[in-house]
Symmetry: C2
Subunit: 410 residues, 2 copies
Amino acid sequence: MPVNLQAPDPASLHAVPGVRLGVTMAGIRKANRRDLSVIELAPGSSVAGVFTANRFCAAPVQVCREHLALGGNEIRAILVNTGNANAGTGEDGLARARQSCQALAGAMGVKPAQILPFSTGVIMETLPVDRIVAGLPAAIAALKADNWAEAAAGIMTTDTLPKAASRQVQIGGATVTLTGISKGAGMIRPNMATMLGYVATDANVAPGLLQALVKEAADASFNRITIDGDTSTNDSFVLIATHKAAHARIDSLDSAEGQVLRKALIEVSQQLAQAIVRDGEGATKFISVVVEGGKTEEECKLAAYAIAHSPLVKTAFFASDPNLGRILAAVGYAGIADLDQTLIDLHLDDVHVVTKGGRRPEYREEDGQRVMKQAEITVRVGLNRGTATTTVWTCDFSHEYVTINADYRS
Amino acid sequence: MPVNLQAPDPASLHAVPGVRLGVTMAGIRKANRRDLSVIELAPGSSVAGVFTANRFCAAPVQVCREHLALGGNEIRAILVNTGNANAGTGEDGLARARQSCQALAGAMGVKPAQILPFSTGVIMETLPVDRIVAGLPAAIAALKADNWAEAAAGIMTTDTLPKAASRQVQIGGATVTLTGISKGAGMIRPNMATMLGYVATDANVAPGLLQALVKEAADASFNRITIDGDTSTNDSFVLIATHKAAHARIDSLDSAEGQVLRKALIEVSQQLAQAIVRDGEGATKFISVVVEGGKTEEECKLAAYAIAHSPLVKTAFFASDPNLGRILAAVGYAGIADLDQTLIDLHLDDVHVVTKGGRRPEYREEDGQRVMKQAEITVRVGLNRGTATTTVWTCDFSHEYVTINADYRS
């Protein structure tokens, strides 16, 4: 039951010059399911990515890192399979990830190091690389520019809806397009693993800026969401620039043109990231957690994630129960060593609940109750010890989450 | 549905010379419920305690710390109320905690600083100190030495069973008793907060050793359990020594007599702590997480708690689903910066699942399935990079947990 999320209208997803996408059914885990996608990039495109911090990162993540270490300016295709995460698979998993790159590179007449492989699905099972290889001709035959909606569906695992976003902005007299897709509904699904995100733009941006740009966009979007606190072995976010747009090259992100691009990229990335939360496993509510007045952004994040990860806070949201002491408790154990509880403020949307660490005499439970019943809620905690702030997005924790994750893999 | 836990047989709980306990119904939150307990200590007793690390610690925790800072050798009574945590209550909450101490001190003819107050229940509501004061005469009238089972019931909130443990050991030719009680079923219940533990002994132990002893016992027991990762505002563990036993004073924990006492205290504490997990909110399984081969105990704990807190691992245990990649993923994001996944081993009881970071070819899913169906399971992770080890106890994560915590407070 996604929260204020609809499937994207295919017509709203602008093609990105220099990018074609093809999807097929390769029978990787189940028959009759779109499970293999190829994103082909024109020669001269640049690619940068950020990947999971999980030390048990999957084989394809390791291979992506190797291939991007060569510079990111020779990448010609992205290969995504669902149904199998190729994680916890040891040396054999690495060999299979490389085989899939070799197969696609052979079909395209490029080198294996020009392919980035991605896998999402069950952890600790052997990647059926033969089925991937067998499926490649159909995926390649399906390549077309106007195919983002199909690719958004092609990378889904148990997401209930495909996730995509698209913007056009004017830069230096040219229309620049940014279009992206994402997937993920828990950090790890019962069978399926992983958050994946891909955004492509035809902006003509200096390749050397791409890594900073993807990092900044991830920090403002995918790095601010949490469903259940479990960091997947396969999380990846990739930014592609085809440089096809007819404007002068952007050489600085601080230039006026750079700012337009950065802003549009962050908007697209946030929409994709928030879509994952809106489609979170069993989600019935979309929660923005704002922590302000910290000494550092780091301590604001500690408090925001403590709130966003607390099963007790999340079940209270599910129940529409203004049991708001749970939020104070989470702030208290967040790990801010010298936190002074007598400074803390708490607002629930417009309702001021706590001041100086205690319940306000004016606070009425029915006001808290009114806000808790909404589908979208902002929790705002004031630490009142500095000027730093942060925002994290999360969802509630429902019976459906347990049902989804306790289902035996089938 | 507690896991292999029964209510204690009152006859098995040995009285501790120098300690009397009295329980009454004070109507603090609900009528006809035992909710106020007094534990009276003979003059000359010593007390030490460890308290929550939560910076939003409750008013009674702050008062306990103040009173124990005076040395712990003048404490004459412990006062426990359920139904209200007196946390998130600001200056007013502190004043009310002090009022309850004053009232009991007045009735006993001692000073307020000789009382330790404890509260457990809803956070962020005003402590009805008038009801506590009104209930004290009945609690005092009920004081008797042979009353541990009654006190175990008297400190329960939504625990499904009272929790108590008792041992007798021989020290220097004398019989020494250790008896304790505990409560808690989630770190914070929907209405009720807090893990509380009290162990009393008549051992004649140098008062200066008590703080080290209670810290060591907590680290080996209450600090190794987790239900949902939420650290309460009120968690407290208190050790009382009445010094009544007829043996020579223990002046060193490293002496033979000190070792006997320490071992018995750890056993009692572990039984009380494990009882909390066995009665965990919605628990259907008791899980021991052992991490070994770490460089430091600290990194073993990081991995053990990542596993024990992962909602995905816990729902897999609930489902008896050997979806064991989730355990690897949790180890991977535990925060061990230089972890090498190619060294990792995983056992589920006697079943060797993973070696060198990958699934063993010999591993058969039906073997994992067999273990996952048990009510008690040991997860053993080998980091294979050192000699440190740790153990943490937890339970699974069921529909019942969500039901309990999503119930509107009533």
